[in-house]
Symmetry: C2
Subunit: 241 residues, 2 copies
């Protein structure tokens, strides 16, 4: 083999991989252009050949996290119930988040939702629709499960919560641009828009979603209060990998 010119060339992948290492080892706040660069035996500015800027680097980390969850989940089993499938997904997601403790905070504070996250939720939505959910109920379910499936609180869609300046107007545009790879989400948006075209709050009335989730939890707790140990006791075990 060649002498490899003292080192393999830099690449977006190598930059992101090193950034993940730094985040895992020293926390997300240690992920600095300079710190990532020294990890790669390179100067800070060299990273800009492969990554547009720090924000995009962080988006890249989110991308990697989502990919890690996706690959850890594996394919859906043939006759798998929506409930079991989602439970498996959430538990897998949690495993990944435990490996990368900084990830929920990062995902939750990203100013815009990275495209991969939409793809991720498309899969969740597909599971629900396939399980017999109406678009409306599925919409509420996604909001309810929001923090379980990726460990983040950020309001999905319009609100553009965590970030600074409201730039959610192009979130809708981005979503529209991806409509072909997000068939279920596109259909859901269409259905919800149709049902709520006179609703001044818009199709995604997060107050309604909030109350739905809240009542889901309160009702569940009330049931536990009435009948203490009769709880579900599900079976699905997460594959130890």
């Amino acid at each position: 083999m060649r002498v490899e010119a003292s080192r393999q060339p830099l690449s977006r992948e190598r930059v992101l991989a090193e950034a993940m290492n730094v985040a895992d080892d020293e926390g997300i706040s240690a992920v600095t252009m300079r710190r990532v660069a020294v990890g790669l035996r390179v100067e800070a500015m060299s990273l800009y050949r492969h990554v547009p800027g720090k924000e995009q680097l962080l988006d890249g980390l989110v991308e990697r996290i989502v990919a890690e969850v996706d690959s850890a989940i594996g394919d859906r089993l043939p006759g798998e119930d929506w409930c079991v499938a989602l439970r498996r997904r959430c538990l897998t997601a949690r495993q990944v988040m435990m490996r990368h403790r900084w990830a929920p905070g990062l995902i939750g504070t990203r100013p815009a939702i990275p495209p991969d996250v939409y793809l991720y939720f498309e899969a969740v939505l597909a599971t629900l629709i396939d399980g017999g959910f109406s678009y409306h109920l599925a919409h509420q379910a996604i909001h309810a499960l929001g923090s379980m499936v990726l460990g983040f609180t950020q309001e999905l869609f319009s609100p553009a919560a965590g970030g600074d300046n409201s730039e959610h107007d192009n979130a809708d545009a981005e979503l529209a641009a991806m409509a072909d790879v997000l068939p279920h989400i596109a259909a859901m948006v269409a259905a919800e828009l149709h049902d709520n075209q006179d609703d001044p709050l818009g199709w995604c009335d997060s107050q309604a979603e909030f109350e739905f989730t809240l009542d889901l939890l309160l009702d569940g707790l009330a049931r536990h209060l009435d009948s203490p140990p009769v709880s579900p006791a599900r079976d699905a075990d997460i594959a130890s990998q």
Copy 2:
């Protein structure tokens, strides 16, 4: 009245108030020592007379948010059910979070849980215990409701999630120091410790809490799937104030 020497003196309160204004107007990332200072017609370094540093300033903002929720809730009505009380609290908290969109993200990414947040959860816990919850079920309920009552995902207690370096060991200490003003939490910790003293995972096995919440949501969704419009339709309206 006096001439007031060209301006009223600075104070921790004035600093925090201005920081909140900046956060509300320009986003949390605009909350900079220099930016807050100009808002007060003062130099950046002058703030350090009244606030130890930026981290403590941010903790002060959390403190203010919690106080705002507390005061907006008002006193608990005499015969109010735990369920109605919690619902009112969550909806009130949401109103406050809507007024300060940056707050959930800030609370969620604080490296340590500020003392006031413990006090806040003490009140939630008191409501649950008063409603007949066992300490164990109440513990699970708090985790389940975590993101509803203050809009944040951070794992309560031990894990020290969002932040960087794990400094959760002194979180327990801080909690112990406040035991006298946190009677219910102290009792809950004691009860859970007693029940799980041989559990290698410690008293707060967040995996168990996670699965509890997850099943609460999945069961609730399954119920909605079976009987579409028979949902709770609760009464409690949030006082418009």
